[in-house]
């Protein structure tokens, strides 16, 4: 089977902690000279080696000798320092400088990276406002299923809240604390005594669950990661149909976050419910069989180790090598037709739940009913004032 197109989606490399927790013994900023949430030297190195691994594995999709040119690859990153830097390091490994490419400086060459500000990014940052999604999330948070999950985690949450000083009012707090402890451990900081009974084993389950939460229901999947899935799928379909797109690359790269990786995997139905490690990587390969059929294979490199082996993931309802037409059918429910207009649809008359739009809808219905009654009442008062004489007069005439 011939590999003819590839999408890569990776998480950035190892970073410093986003924010220390209130009782963190390592909260002194001097311990983190790079600042919060920044890619570390280990993170740079992992992505550099990973880039070289990718370049070797997919050299058949790259220009000869892995020379770089503007059509060799398309890279899209979220607009965050650590993802931009990870992509730069990865590309430095993927396109090592060949003698032909010497430019008189370093054994390195620049490769442009597309990025757009987070507030304009609908595909990769996954933070663009979508009212319909907010409603779906709100509805899920009120559901018995979610409340039950939180209830089962109550004891662990209380223990962690008491010791860390963090407020455990959301599932994602488990991951915040989990990742902070993980990074401190990676930096050889001795973790406090209280962590021993819970980290990492007991915390990894709720931390992993927190990654599944944003894409829990089909509707949430569709509105959260649907555009990314749609983009990848339509790129592959263009390749299959031979439509020459303007750029013509064989490889598209997405440099993003653990949430992006988890949202994507959960949306196509293959998430393992564990926090995606640093520099973990999803590979979506489009292949052409000897019978000229097009199939898609999904691999997941579930490790920070840049030379680690990727696993094949099978999309539910399909085979390992999933025919692209079948994949389109299977993923149809999670692919938005028109994301923007779907985001603006509100269910005004869904009265089963006390979500904010319903409150608004009820208010609107009640107010307009009241106004209608008021108008009717005023009209009838007016008529009763005007008509009686008239009617009386008429009757009078008739009796005569």
């Amino acid at each position: 089977m011939n590999n003819i197109y590839l999408s890569q989606l990776y998480r950035h490399g190892e970073r410093t902690i986003i924010e220390p927790y209130p009782n963190d013994p390592y909260k002194d900023p001097k311990l983190w000279p790079l600042g919060w949430g920044q890619l570390t030297q280990a993170g740079i190195h992992h992505h550099y080696v990973l880039g070289n691994w990718l370049g070797t594995r997919y050299s058949h999709l790259l220009p000869k000798h892995r020379d770089y040119n503007l059509k060799a690859i398309r890279v899209q990153s979220t607009d965050v320092d650590r993802t931009l830097m990870s992509a730069e390091a990865n590309l430095a490994g993927m396109f090592p400088l060949t003698p032909e490419e010497e430019w008189g400086g370093l054994k390195w060459q620049p490769v442009p990276i597309h990025t757009i500000p987070e507030q304009l990014d609908k595909v990769l940052a996954m933070k663009y406002p979508c009212k319909r999604y907010d409603y779906a999330l709100h509805k899920f948070e009120k559901s018995a299923e979610y409340k039950n999950i939180l209830k089962n985690l109550g004891e662990l949450g209380n223990y962690l809240q008491k010791n860390s000083g963090m407020k455990f009012d959301d599932l994602k707090i488990f991951d915040y604390l989990y990742s902070t402890l993980l990074i401190e451990k990676l930096n050889n900081f001795t973790l406090p005594e209280w962590t021993k009974s819970v980290f990492p084993e007991k915390m990894i389950v709720p931390a992993g669950l927190s990654f599944a939460k944003p894409t829990w229901t089909p509707e949430m999947k569709r509105l959260k990661a649907g555009l990314l899935v749609k983009g990848m799928l339509s790129n592959m379909e263009k390749k299959v149909s031979g439509v020459e797109d303007t750029t013509g690359q064989n490889i598209t790269v997405y440099s993003a976050h653990d949430t992006t990786v988890a949202n994507f995997l959960n949306t196509i139905g293959v998430f393992n419910m564990l926090p995606p490690p640093f520099a973990s990587l999803v590979l979506v390969e489009l292949r052409e069989t000897s019978k000229h059929e097009h199939v898609v294979m999904v691999h997941f490199k579930n490790t920070t180790d840049p030379e680690g082996v990727p696993y094949i993931l099978t999309i539910p309802g399909c085979t390992e090598a999933c025919p692209i037409t079948q994949l389109r059918t299977l993923l149809q429910p999670v692919i938005p037709e028109d994301w923007d207009s779907e985001c603006h649809q509100h269910e005004f008359f869904d009265l089963t739940d006390d979500q904010p739009y319903n409150t608004l809808a009820i208010f609107a219905v009640v107010t307009s009913t009241l106004i209608v009654f008021l108008v009717l009442a005023l009209t009838s008062v007016y008529w009763t004032k005007q008509k009686p004489n008239h009617i009386y007069h008429k009757l009078n005439v008739e009796t005569l």
Binding site: N69, E101, G105, L106, P110, P112, I113, P117
Partner: protein
């Protein structure tokens, strides 16, 4: 007696002059020795009052984007593709980064810290790549930031501005008011062209086989010829008459045409100028440098809006540096100095004297004098 006295007076004066002479020479020798020692022991000048730099530069050497129907080289296979940064271009910006390091290294520090440095870029790949090589020259990893002993490079984020929203670097975001004014101003420029100019345009149209009927088309032609010549391609004989001098004038005039009037300046260069002023004004004490990777037009528009209106064709890697200084005893009331690097390898930038300031320019004077070029709300004002 009178004669003798006068003679002895003269003698005395001579002796005095001798003393003075030796003292001066002696002092000079000591001073020179001091400076030589000083210069050889310090890599970069200490700039004790410097608080922030804002640098706007042009990308490096590129391949052409335009070719004309009769172009003998129109099928020339440019290795990097069209409009792409070349190996020479990569080196130019790397060199500019190194020059900036030699001047500002001590101020910027050896360790790259994301919160101290910002790099915005035009979306054009050549501008993004220029930004990356510039940063490679400016911040080779040091100390704990070395992550690979064989590669003295580290990744530093570059923020390209999406083309459709870019009103400061490529400055291609649509602006109705600007476009209307530009049409009007361009018509004036066209009517002011001499008969000679118009005859030249006719010749160009005839020779190239393309409609070279305005200075904008002439600029495209100029750059294509320039790049071809720089890459050792032989230009057709007919170009001898007008290339480079006459065509260069057209090209420079066209670059200037984008900021010919105050209104044009406001909409073309205003957003960038406003951001730079904001950078200097709203300092949180962390941001040390703001870099902007743009085009020849970015440089010309900014310089003209600052008041430097001589026709100019910025070379690859040309850079405008706006330094912000503060004295220890007068925090918050800093002053500005403007420098211009004519080309990437320019070791000694020219200091530019702003017409409304003497000799150093307080930030508030700078802002007040240029406020007419800084739109309050670019988008809204573009529509009105």
């Amino acid at each position: 007696m009178w004669y003798n006295r006068s003679q002895s007076f003269l003698l005395q004066q001579c002796r005095q002059r001798q003393y003075t002479f030796f003292t001066v020479v002696g002092l000079a020798v000591i001073l020179i020795a001091f400076f030589i020692t000083y210069a050889s022991f310090s890599g970069s000048k200490p700039l004790p009052t410097l608080r922030q730099i804002n640098v706007v530069f042009r990308h490096g050497d590129k391949t052409p984007t335009y070719s004309y129907p009769n172009d003998p080289h129109k099928d020339f296979a440019w290795k990097e593709g069209k409009g792409a940064l070349t190996a020479k271009g990569k080196f130019e910006l790397f060199a500019l980064g190194e020059i900036m390091k030699s001047k500002y290294g001590e101020f910027l520090g050896e360790v790259y810290l994301p919160e101290e440095i910002q790099m915005k870029s035009s979306y054009a790949p050549r501008a993004q790549m220029s930004a990356m090589t510039f940063l490679a020259g400016l911040f080779p990893p040091k100390g704990f930031q070395i992550w690979n002993d064989n590669l003295h490079w580290q990744p530093i984020p570059v923020n390209p501005i999406p083309r459709e929203t870019d009103n400061m670097l490529a400055a291609k975001a649509p602006c109705a008011k600007y476009e209307k004014e530009k049409q009007r101003s361009d018509a004036t420029i066209a009517t002011n062209l001499t008969k000679e100019d118009n005859d030249l345009l006719k010749v160009l149209t005839e020779k190239t086989g393309d409609q070279i009927n305005n200075i904008a088309k002439a600029e495209s032609l100029f750059y294509t010829l320039l790049i071809q010549r720089d890459n050792g391609l032989v230009l057709p004989d007919w170009t001898e008459e007008m290339f480079p001098t006459k065509l260069a004038r057209f090209a420079a005039l066209n670059l200037a045409s984008y900021t010919m009037t105050d209104t044009l300046k406001k909409f073309q260069a205003g957003p960038l100028l406003k951001e730079i002023v904001k950078n200097m004004q709203m300092r949180d004490g962390k941001r040390k440098a703001n870099f902007y990777s743009g085009h020849d037009l970015t440089i010309v528009s900014l310089m003209r809006t600052l008041g430097f209106e001589d026709l100019n064709l910025p070379s690859y890697g040309a850079a405008v540096v706006i330094e912000y200084h503060e004295n220890e005893d007068a925090p918050g009331n800093g002053f500005i100095q403007v420098f211009y690097h004519r080309q990437a390898t320019d070791q000694k930038p020219n200091s530019y004297q702003l017409s409304f300031c003497d000799p150093s320019c307080p930030l508030n004077v700078f802002r007040e004098n240029l406020s007419k070029f800084m739109p309050n709300n670019w988008e809204a004002e573009c529509k009105s």
